[in-house]
Structure formats: structure tokens, C-alpha cells
């Protein structure tokens, strides 16, 4: 996102400036800029937080869970229920991946709700991050389907029960909609995060610009922040459940 630094009304920087990255450790490998940015820092922080939370909360292994253990068990049961419902018993080997995906996106989105603009960052608001995750899911699911069903996998594009003369029309449409899955999966998460944060930035600008009457945009901003937290959780849930649905499609062709 090449947002220009040109000031808008009132001398404020453009709302997309918040997505500029701060390089924390500058690493230059043969001309490639591989610096450790805030995005990488928050990805590490997410992984560390989720790992530490799960390990620490399950340390006691009480039969009657403590509060922390109960939180870990709740999140486990939530994702396990999702996999069980949408994929069935054959999806159990894939549960660790789906659980990691869910927790990573959830905590990553929620980290973006922290203040202190320049030093916090929503790494899911980068299209390349969400695209990488969506491609991992898409390629993984396609490879699983090919390995399980071999060439019979291509019967997926021709729904059974449809008249044969519809095939030349139906098959390209089905293939196109299958290929658009990683695109829609990644753009959904990316656009939600980017648009949400940009809207919050724009309303923040209004609050300062209106001076005394800035109370009105402030109220909207409070409601918007609450909505953004909801969207953060919801988008993690939607990404995960769509992954489960695609996995189900791969394991049981239709």
C-alpha cells in the first residue's frame, strides 16, 4: 500500500499511513530487505503468547479446571467442535493445524486493537500475510484431495445429478469458483482489518478536527472500536470455518 505522505485537510497524514512498517532490526541480505519489522515482531509475539498461554494454563491438569485452564479448554473445545461438525471424524489429524490457524488469526487481529499507533501493528492487515495463509490452506487442501482421491478428484467440478449437456458451461464456472477460494479467503480478512483500522483513523481525525464538538465522532469511535473487536473475533472464526468447509470438500467430494 503506497500511501502518500501528502497531508489531507487539517494537515493530518493520510489514514493509510498507519500501515507503514517500522524496521526494528535492519537486516540486509545481498540487496534484499529482510529486516525484522513490527509485523514480524507481532507475529512472534502472537505465537509466543498463544504458546505460553496454552502451556501454562494446562500445567496443573486439574480434573476440575481452574479459571485459566478453563479458558484453554474452552478454546480447544470450540475449535474441536468446529472441526467435528464440519469435517467429521476424518478431520481429526488436521485439528492441530486448524487450531493454530484460529489462535494465530484471533490473537493477531486482537493485537491490532492495541493503541500506540506507530509501535503496534495488525499483521493481518497485510495482504501478503493473509494471502500466504490462504494459499497454505488452498494448496494443502488440494494436495490432500489429490492424495486421497487421485484423479477422481476432478469429478468434484462436475456435480452429480446435473444434465450432461450443461457440462461445458458448468465445469469452467466450477473451476473458476474453486480457484477464487484463496483470493476471497485472503481478501476477506485483509479488507476487514484494513478497512476497520482506516475507518477508526478517519473518525479519530474528525474528533481532533471538530474540537469542542468532537464528542459526537468520539461516541461513534467508541462504538466502532467495540465493533472492530467483534469483527476481529468474527473474522478469525470465519477464516477457520471456511478452512474446515474446504477440508470437508477435499475429504468427502461433495
Amino acid at each position: 500500500m503506497a500511501g502518500s505522505s501528502a497531508p489531507t485537510e487539517g494537515g493530518f497524514p493520510s489514514p493509510v499511513e498507519q500501515f507503514h512498517l517500522l524496521e526494528m532490526i535492519n537486516i540486509d541480505v545481498a540487496g534484499l530487505n529482510l529486516s525484522f519489522t513490527t509485523s514480524a515482531f507481532y507475529m512472534m509475539a502472537t505465537a509466543v503468547l498463544v504458546g505460553v498461554f496454552l502451556v501454562q494454563s494446562m500445567k496443573g491438569r486439574h480434573l476440575v479446571p481452574t479459571r485459566l485452564q478453563s479458558m484453554a479448554e474452552l478454546s480447544y473445545e470450540f475449535v474441536a467442535g468446529m472441526v467435528r461438525e464440519n469435517v467429521g471424524s476424518e478431520g481429526r489429524p488436521y485439528f492441530p493445524f486448524i487450531f493454530s490457524l484460529f489462535m494465530f488469526i484471533l490473537v493477531g487481529n486482537l493485537f491490532g486493537m492495541l493503541p500506540f499507533g506507530h509501535y503496534t501493528y495488525t499483521f493481518t492487515s497485510q495482504i501478503i500475510v493473509t494471502f500466504a495463509m490462504a494459499m497454505a490452506v488452498f494448496i494443502g487442501v488440494t494436495v490432500i484431495a489429490l492424495m486421497k482421491h487421485g484423479l477422481h478428484f476432478f469429478s468434484f467440478f462436475f456435480p452429480s445429478g446435473a444434465p450432461v449437456y450443461m457440462a461445458p458451461l458448468l465445469i469452467p464456472i466450477e473451476i473458476l469458483s474453486y480457484l477464487s477460494r484463496p483470493v476471497s479467503l485472503s481478501v476477506r480478512l485483509f479488507a476487514n482489518m484494513m478497512a476497520g483500522h482506516t475507518m477508526m483513523k478517519v473518525f479519530g481525525t474528525f474528533v481532533v478536527l471538530l474540537g469542542a464538538f468532537g464528542v459526537a465522532p468520539m461516541v461513534v469511535l467508541v462504538a466502532l472500536t467495540g465493533f472492530e473487536i467483534l469483527v476481529a473475533v468474527l473474522q478469525a472464526y470465519v477464516f477457520t470455518i471456511l478452512t474446515c468447509i474446504y477440508l470437508n470438500d477435499a475429504l468427502h467430494l461433495h
Binding site: M1, A2, G3, S4, S14, P15, V16, S184, V187, R188, F190, A191, N192, M194, A195, T198, L234, Q235, Y237, V238, I241
Partner: protein, 74 residues
């Protein structure tokens, strides 16, 4: 025409697509409320799917908003 002005007009036209999304989301929740009213016991099951449908429709809204932001800021 000034580039800035053209950008503003383009962004404005791009968000007309949100009209369809508004209809869609209203449709989802009206059916959700109607189905819970008919059969209150189904609330748990129907609610999850309703929220999933809402999030997927919202995604289309955000595709349109994304185009508007791309026109405006990039």
C-alpha cells in the same frame, strides 16, 4: 479534471455497491429472526450459521470498500 477530484468521485461511485450488501444483510437477519420466532429451540444452531452468513456478506461490502480505498489512496 483534477486527479484529486476524479479520485473522490471514483471512490464515491465505488461505494454504491454497498446498497446490495445492505439488502443482503437485512435479508439474513430478518430470516434469522423469523426462524427463531417460529422455533425458539433452533436458536443455537441457526445463530451460528446466521453469523457466518453475515460475515460472508460483509466480506463483499469490504471488497467494495477496498476498491474505494484503492482509488482514493493508491
Amino acid at each position: 479534471m483534477d486527479v484529486e477530484a476524479a479520485k473522490m468521485i471514483g471512490a464515491g461511485i465505488a461505494v454504491i455497491a454497498l446498497m446490495g450488501v445492505g439488502v443482503g444483510i437485512g435479508n439474513i437477519f430478518s430470516t434469522l429472526i423469523a426462524s427463531i420466532a417460529r422455533n425458539p429451540a433452533a436458536r443455537g444452531e441457526v445463530f451460528g450459521i446466521g453469523i457466518l452468513g453475515f460475515a460472508l456478506t460483509e466480506a463483499v461490502a469490504l471488497f467494495a470498500l477496498l476498491i474505494a480505498f484503492l482509488i482514493l489512496f493508491a
